[in-house]
């Protein structure tokens, strides 16, 4: 039983051998989470990691906290039941693009609309890893996989748009190997009240290697990523600075200096739904990829309301007794 004041990464490492493929992006995310948890000042026994099924969903086994490896797609539902009845716990959901967006899409969007106090980490590797490499709802059109030998035809979801459309109060995106950014975003999520939805680009080096290298390759990181900062103009690029400005309600990439200055650029506002939606829909190759917090707003939190309603009833009616319960309604006596 570790003292929370002195918790370290080690306290969150379980005794189970980690069994992802060597080189899998999941390792980096595990590391970041094991970095973040001890830094939150919360006792270890308060953490619960709930997952579905998939490579990513093996996550709880490797965390020395409470953990529940549930069934495919249902982690948000299990977590909702847990958090609703145990609002004192920190409930983190770990899920994959298949788990969360294919079979589990409904539970995810319902958790988001209810604004249940969960942190949802979606490991998006754009593939079904555990079942050996079929295309997923985030795979690009035309992807050749075992189940799509001639190329997939389904247009992918944009996970951030979907979350926004479902009414999410916190939406962010980060990348497995961007440890610092990842940890920052996890910290922001940890502070959020309500559902925090974080898409984490994750490389599956076995079945979809290099899915994100267009932006994660060292040479591309500046050119292909926009690091959003609330209140700051949306600017990116290495040597040559560029920015995003609004024109006719659409986003446009402009080169700074080239007749445009910082002032022309969109100032990022985490609370503006239209901006979040526009930013979510900026897709490569036409646009660089936005990273960081796209939306963070306050809305009543589900489990808090549930508890409050129960408390209010107990306050107004008194804590019910079994006598009262049974004798309610029309009763009569036979002697």
């Amino acid at each position: 039983m570790a003292d929370q004041a002195t918790l370290t990464r080690k306290d969150f490492q379980s005794d189970q051998d980690v069994r992802w493929c060597p080189g899998c992006g999941d390792y980096a995310i595990l590391k970041a989470v094991q970095e973040v948890f001890p830094s939150l000042g919360i006792p270890r026994e308060k953490f619960v990691v709930v997952s579905g099924i998939g490579c990513s969903s093996r996550f709880p086994y490797y965390m020395n906290s409470y953990g529940f490896h549930t069934i495919h797609g249902r982690a948000p539902a299990v977590a909702t039941g847990l958090k609703t009845t145990r609002s004192d716990l920190e409930v983190w959901v770990v899920t994959g693009d298949g788990d969360a967006l294919s079979i589990g899409g409904n539970h995810l969007i319902h958790a988001l609309r209810r604004n249940v106090g969960l942190k949802v980490l979606l490991f998006n590797n754009r593939i079904y890893g555990l079942t050996k490499g079929q295309y997923s709802p985030t795979s690009e059109v035309g992807k050749r996989t075992s189940s799509s030998p001639y190329g997939s035809l389904d247009a992918p979801f944009n996970p951030l748009s979907l979350a926004l459309g479902a009414g999410a109060t916190f939406v962010a995106r980060t990348v497995d190997i961007y440890q610092k950014h990842l940890i920052e975003v996890l910290h922001r999520a940890a502070q959020h009240r309500g559902t925090a939805f974080i898409e984490i680009y994750q490389n599956c080096n076995i079945f979809n290697d290099g899915a994100f290298s267009y932006m994660t390759d060292k040479s591309q990181r500046q050119e292909q990523g926009i690091y959003l900062q609330h209140g700051q103009p949306v600017i990116f690029g290495g040597e040559e600075k560029r920015g995003i400005r609004m024109k006719d309600m659409r986003c446009e990439v402009v080169t700074l200096g080239d007749g445009f200055s910082e002032e022309d650029c969109l100032v990022w506002d985490e609370t503006n739904p239209a901006m979040a939606m526009l930013m979510a829909q900026m897709l490569p190759p036409d646009y660089p990829t936005p990273l960081g917090v796209l939306r963070a707003v306050d809305r009543p939190v589900f489990e808090e309301q549930v508890v409050a309603q129960i408390q209010a009833e107990i306050k107004s009616k008194g804590d019910g007794t079994l006598e009262e319960l049974l004798h309610a309604g029309d009763v009569w006596t036979v002697d």
């Binding site: 709880p60 965390m63 549930t70 847990l82 609703t84 129960i310 107004s316 079994l322 029309d330 002697d335």
Partner: protein, 620 residues
Amino acid sequence: MTSSAVVHDSVEKLSDVVIRFAGDSGDGMQLTGTQFTNTSAVLGNDLSTLPDFPAEIRAPAGTLPGVSAFQVRIADYDIHTPGDAPNVLVAMNPAALKTNIADLEVGGILIVNSNEFNKRNLTKAYYTENPLTNGSLEGYRLFEVELTKLTRAALDEMGLGNRDRDRCKNLFALGMIYWMFSRPLDNTEAWLAKKFASKPEIIEANLRAMKAGWNYCDITGAFQTSRYEVVAAPLPAGTYRNINGNSALALGLVTASRRSGLPLFLGSYPITPASSVLHELARYKHYGVTTFQAEDEIAAVCAAVGASFGGSLAITTTSGPGLALKSEAINLALITELPLVVIDVQRAGPSTGMPTKTEQTDLLQAMFGRNGESPMPVIAPSSPGDCFSVAIEACRMAIQYMVPVLLLSDGYLANGSEPWRLPEVEDLPDLRLEHHGDAEDFQPYRRNPETLARNWAVPGTPGLEHRIGGLEKQDVTGSVSYDPDNHQHMTRLRAEKVERIARTIPPLEVDGDSGGRLLVLGWGSTAGAITGAVNLARKEGVKVSRAHLRHLNPLPSNLGDVLASFEQVLLPEINTGQLAMILRARFLKDIITLSKVQGKPFMRGEILAKIHQLTGASEG
């Protein structure tokens, strides 16, 4: 209508009467029936009810699918069913007559609202001639009452429109029936006053209509030769309330929560005929009950599993199609050995089937409808009131053995009601658990040697951090294991745990001789009809015993001996022989199935006929 044949003051004493109110769904027949029931309950009758809702919310007025009916049987002795054939039928319109007349006993009393027998309504009911005038009702004691006109007249002075006045027709009818069965009006008066406290005009209108109905009979002497009384039944002393099965389930669950000290959590998605358990529990917030209306059945059961992991007494309620959807997640509770109570209020299938009709056809689904070897306890209540204690028993099994438990009720129990004697709180089982798990040397799959239940260590407890999940687990440590012998061991262990419950359930009791020619065995909601039929057979001198199974898995340990003691075993089921299959396989005994799959409960007469056939007894 069993007459005790004591006539005095022109009131005939009856032992037993079955009344059916039938009308359009807008006519308030459920309310009428419920009021008559409650008044009779307070008078001390034993009683049993059978509501029959239309499938449509509100089918066009006057049509056959729009007919709503409520049957109630009252008696001065211990009864078990709402009766086979009504002795009295109130038909508020031609459609109600058409769909119900076939059930009325020959010579029975038939009261019709003659104002509604106009061309339009007759056509809607597909009558080509007016049955009131073409002689087709000659076999009954027909009373034509101008119910619409009389009700309007009674409310004349109140300045209400016809539509509002017509809404009170049912109270006029109720008043008539109160008069006919010598019941006081005060109970309904009190109810109206409470229900419409803020709408004095409505109270007034309803009261006037009811009294007008009563007076109409009293003054006009319309039924002068037909006034009856059914005196109180010699029920065991105690405090009673009239209860339907779903309410009793809800009360049982809250009781189990209180007696175990575990907060109650219900995850549910509405579905007929289970929804009202959700509705009832949603009202018990001041008992610390959390109800969660999920996005679907899967989320409902999953949320319950999550709540169970967190230490709640977790319940999920549904009907057959919903149970099908929940089966994958139930298995998660099964392999993680978390307590969970799954309530299936069965309805007629397959698929959407006939959602408002009753059936017992989910037993095999409950037993076997999951992937892999996945045994779980199954239990079924036998009457509306019994739902209370069966709910408690289901919770007991779940938490003491760390297993998901399936409780099989059905539409008939859910909506039917009977007087229920309130238990004394101190007599209720104590379900408190010993504290599980000790941080020193804690293992999540370490077991209680008696029950084989594993430790239920809830998140938030320092030092007991552990992981569970749907992959096969090593015993004791709970680590993921692909070891073949461990899988064999765990498979055996999960079965053994369920079997051990048999040690804590009472042996099957036989009503009647403990062996002999014929045993009529039952489970679930057929109890009333079977008891009724057996009692009738015995009155005829037929030797027949009776037993009723509450626990369907594990079975009571003496069941094999009981079956072996009888030459013949008859098992009536509202399915094609599902329990019979299980018993045949287990005991290699030829169980005779009496099957009925019509969306309706058994009538006593149907079972009696089969008893006759099997015993060679005459038609009695």
